[in-house]
């Protein structure tokens, strides 16, 4: 390791002092994250929060704490995962640009770092780190999200540009993001993994129509995009033509590190606080409801507390083991699985602790509403970022080397069966 690198403890001390001076505290009991917000934020409120995220990201950049593991030539700090981990510990309790960590930094920036040309990296990464470019992922399609390689959005080459046609869906922050990574089919006549290519494109591109999709908790941050002859210069292609799947495997890997383990995200994938699920918030609620002496309630609180600590230990340990090579990078799927199931369980625990108060509430009881609506949307934590079933497949097949599933999609993609929701073969 480079001997001139700042010592991690010294770095942590410097970060602690800087954070105290420069970053606002997080509002502990309140869930600001759009997807989980109980307040049905208006578009204006979402845009205001997005602007705050940009400003906070800019502050991190100016303070020398953006892109801690990103090489200096692209505007980062050129430090190590240990420095990022230390910063993530220090930033706990502060507000920070939580909403743009995914998808801007993982997977988009991580993918650019691995597959972008020098020109692409210089063009985009400093802007990402300054909060000027927010990126989203155009990956899932109406016909299927788990089977990413089954994408039917098509890119056709015309000279030195490509024309994209098709539809993408479930794009988080699609309507206010600046740029996107997009997976498209460039060859229908080969096995499906061999006919894909990744592109980057601005969300304001002509021919790209965006529709917001309302979720069960009232959030409208999800989007569906319709692409009609969207022109993308060949210079904005990421990786080789028809080599999109090698980009995708890393894209999916980085996406799975959302529950922890990525060196590129600030806050370790956690939001500034666990909102209504923060253990002290839960204990306070149990007191208010007169249940703190009820042994069943205490059992639930203890379970929530134990699970949160175990999850933290697991993220730290698997991250360390992947860094030293003690576990292969597929081990990140264990973090995704544990994160998903544990988040689902804690939503159930909170709902049981709140009881009636979590299903019927007064206008000013925002935390109660968060608990109720959090329960409604809870499976999102087992779906978004790749489902827990897909994580189980990865663990079984890649980590445990168990037999692969039999495949029904090995012919030329044109001939592979598709459900009615996938758009038809060109």
């Amino acid at each position: 390791m480079n001997a001139d690198l700042e010592d991690v403890d010294a770095f942590a001390a410097r970060a602690r002092a800087w954070l105290a001076e420069n970053m606002p505290l997080a509002d502990q009991g309140r869930e600001t994250f759009f997807l989980y917000a109980a307040t049905h934020p208006t578009d204006d409120e979402v845009l205001a929060r997005a602007a705050t995220c940009r400003q906070l990201q800019r502050r991190l950049f100016d303070g020398g704490f953006a892109g801690i593991c990103v090489p200096r030539e692209y505007g980062g700090q050129g430090l190590t995962p240990a420095h990022q981990a230390a910063f993530n510990r220090e930033i706990k309790g502060y507000d920070y640009p939580a909403e743009i960590q995914a998808s801007t930094f993982i997977p988009c920036m991580a993918v650019l770092l691995e597959f972008g040309t020098e020109e692409q990296k210089h063009r985009h990464i400093p802007g990402m780190l300054r909060g000027e470019e927010i990126w989203v992922q155009l990956l899932s399609e109406p016909g299927g999200g788990s089977d990413a390689a089954g994408a039917v959005t098509t890119a056709t080459r015309h000279g030195d540009q490509w024309l994209l046609n098709g539809s993408k869906i479930w794009t988080t922050s699609g309507w206010w993001g600046d740029w996107a990574l997009c997976l498209a089919r460039t060859n229908w006549d080969v096995e499906k993994h061999r006919g894909l290519t990744v592109f980057s494109l601005p969300m304001s591109a002509p021919g790209l129509a965006i529709r917001q999709v309302e979720l069960v908790n009232g959030s409208k941050d999800f989007c569906q995009e319709f692409l009609t002859d969207v022109a993308v210069p060949d210079a904005d292609r990421i990786g080789d033509v028809d080599a999109g799947w090698s980009v995708m495997t890393r894209w999916l890997h980085h996406e799975r590190t959302i529950s922890g383990g990525s060196p590129y995200i600030t806050g370790g994938g956690n939001r500034p606080s666990d909102g209504p699920y923060e253990i002290t918030v839960l204990v306070t609620a149990a007191r208010r409801l007169g249940l703190i002496d009820d042994s069943h309630t205490r059992g639930l609180l203890g379970e929530a507390r134990a699970d949160a600590l175990v999850q933290r230990a697991l993220v730290e340990s698997v991250t360390r083991k992947m860094a030293t090579g003690a576990l292969p990078h597929h081990a990140a799927a264990m973090l995704r699985l544990f994160g998903g199931t544990t988040n689902a369980r804690r939503a159930a625990i909170a709902t049981e602790v709140y009881g009636e108060a979590g299903v019927v509430w007064a206008p000013d009881e925002e935390t109660n509403a968060q608990v109720g609506l959090g329960y409604l949307i809870r499976q999102a934590s087992c779906i978004g970022g790749g489902t827990t079933e897909m994580a189980r497949n990865v663990i079984a097949e890649r980590l445990l080397d168990m037999p692969r599933e039999r495949r029904a999609d090995t012919d030329a993609f044109r001939d592979v069966p598709r459900g009615p929701r996938a758009s038809s073969t060109p």
């Binding site: 204990v283 203890g302 697991l314």
Partner: protein, 381 residues
Amino acid sequence: MFTQTADQDLLEATTEQYLAATYPPARLRELARRDSTFDAALWKQGAELGWTTLLVAESAGGGSVSGNGLADLVAVAFQFGRHAAPGPLIGTNIVAAALGRWGSKERHGAALAELLDGGATAAWGYAPRLGRRAPAGVRAARSGDRVVLDGTVPHVETGAPNGYLLVAAVDDDGTRSHHLVPLDAPGVHTAPLGGLDLTRRYAAVALRGVALPATSRVGEPGTADDHDEELLDLTAVLQAAQIVGAMERAFAMTLRWTGDRYSFGRPLGSYQEIKHRMADLRTQLEAGAAVVEKAARRVGDGAGDARSWASAAKAYAGRLGPEVIQDCVQLHGGIGVTFEHDLHLYLRRATVDAQSFGTPAYFSERLVRLVEAGMQQEETA
């Protein structure tokens, strides 16, 4: 399963080799039929491998390999779980830790030296779950320069016949203090107990007018409540490590089985249902190992949040460990519930560790109390 130093790896590897050679499953089955499973010569060899000194400071005759003796001992306990090995590993280390921390050289030095060199073993007589309706426990009465102990300890793990018992007794003033009781002292009566574990033996202990020199007390008068909590942290981490070892063994056996066993013309492991179950079990195993490793580091370093981590380790491994192994039994089908198959060796070990010295629910409750204490501190600050 743990991130370890090279020295810890070596300690674990030598322990693993020794246990694999000494206690193969066939040997465990033989021991199952014996009243006593303790073998003084084998225990002494274990002590030579470093099993008994790790929680005791060098100045008191002990020594760790990494500077964090609990993290070292976790590697040994993990292997004890993997091999369902006999030997009062946890009790002996816990009592040695107590003597090293709070004992005095003149009064307890000889006993500690015996524990460290493997010449004797020890048990900690503690059962945190017993509620208000439980029998009174042990009382201590002063009589001149002697102290007389009366009462019962519901169960202790037995080891060497010349072992020691560390037990808290209620003094005349109502406070509790620890005493070191030689098991061969007059008035100490032990009655063997049955139990799940095939290779560990348990006994109920009755103390009837056991007169000891007043100097048998370990620690200042009235310190047993605090000290018991500290010993419970250590015990919880070590039990959790054994449980994770038992889980690891059962999981590895099951993974092999899902490859070898065929049904409907394909290996069990080719069914997605089975693959997904194995993925869940593998993740729970990793989570158990992670929280044990973290807890060992925090407790061994004396960190401020050590008690929460120790409690989380036992609450999680105690709750999930036996369930994971039960799922391994399920995936074995009928053979999994037979005595002939080895799985139950690990299920027994994990279940006994999960339920003794505080159930998972006890540690879950302890976690809530710690959260409340933290909140109260914040409120008064």
